[in-house]
Assembly symmetry: C2
Homo-oligomer: 267 residues x 2
Amino acid sequence: MTPSEGIERFIRPDLITFGGYSARKSPETLEGKVEVPVENIIKLDANENPYGCSPRVNQALATCSDLSIYPDNGQARLRELLEGYAVVNAKHIVAGSASNQLIDLVLRLFISKGDEVINCVPTFGIYRFSTELCGGTLVEVPRDENFAVNINAVKAAISGKTKVIFLANPNNPTGTITPQPDILELVDTGLPVLVDEAYYEFSGQTIVPLVSQYENLMGLRTFSKWAGLAGLRVGYGLFPPKIADYLLKIKIPYNVNVAALVPCRNR
Amino acid sequence: MTPSEGIERFIRPDLITFGGYSARKSPETLEGKVEVPVENIIKLDANENPYGCSPRVNQALATCSDLSIYPDNGQARLRELLEGYAVVNAKHIVAGSASNQLIDLVLRLFISKGDEVINCVPTFGIYRFSTELCGGTLVEVPRDENFAVNINAVKAAISGKTKVIFLANPNNPTGTITPQPDILELVDTGLPVLVDEAYYEFSGQTIVPLVSQYENLMGLRTFSKWAGLAGLRVGYGLFPPKIADYLLKIKIPYNVNVAALVPCRNR
């Protein structure tokens, strides 16, 4: 059957061959398939925190009284709480159901079909996934033999269709740090630059204090790694206020679940 | 400043004037603005369950040991658990961060820029929101004076660009039920028909047992209403297996948080 027949004739043509995302296996899917009992499996392939989260998270969830109420769609209290942690004014902050959702949201804001996204490979797989899901074209710029970003090559890859430059810093999976002057050279192109700082708490390096100085510099953070909350799905981004306002408008309503707010309220 | 200047020149042109979603206010945003203390506010405008969720949800969250681990991206165990509740084979099921996310996901699968979505107004606002976010065009077919769907008018509104027909059943906010023969008349057009059964547990009427018989009939359910879990963000859809496979491939990885799985595991 070709896509022109059956239900597939209604599906977006570019999604018929979409490859999806190659996710790490969860322990529960290995139950009975490996000799180790599921409760003894220690996952090491998704950079989850091996110490788990604070026991105070479970304690706070035990008494959480608003599981039946929609979270505030405007994230007012959550953005205030994150302001204290990120040391950036709340007007710059948008929270997401982990940074995966924010990566997708940023791309939905900028990418029309055929627009280009520059990606410094090898790097985190979600950038490719969401670019293709948004109908964009991924332009891959290989890192050098030390996995450093080749800034000149990135600048040479910019075209009239380029809308976003992605940079994981430190990079996943290579651990490489891109120096701040190199990042600012990309910001000086004027193009939206998204710096994914999922591992900031381990590297100590960040562009976040600079976000208020540029109209095109964006940072992403997550609670999945350092806080041991990969399962709760909570992350946040730091954006120029104009971009933050657009993102708040286009995000799916009530995107951050109430349980994910609990650790932020009780830290 | 016009959109051709500044950062807005990189934003999707159709999103510059995007209206967003008009969400209900959460109690926390009213703190200090009304005379009632926040803990005494009873929300009635978003159809949350006034009795809250089962106290067993908090008990189970108190001992949940996998908050630090990514949920299974393929939702294998969750789909099995939902199979038992929905009485539909797991291959038909896709779970989401509540049905808002599934509505958006279905539209992302079918809608390219300029495609049309038929909406029977007045109805739930998310259908408009996600159609416009996906670059689609909403074709509104007014309900009659009793808020019944005018099936002939819907069929007359179908064009070569129509990709999805939406139907909330019972309808939100009118409570109107569309009889099953009318729904099947729409299904017989061959177009993808999405029946949103968010209030199924209150109406008792459902198309879900028919999902396995058609390649274009889809149903949506949520735990936000009957189960009092609006804050946890968990819902599911019933789809023809071919559509379910596509949706699982294009959904944001790890889309259902671990806390939202807890009530499903412990029911």
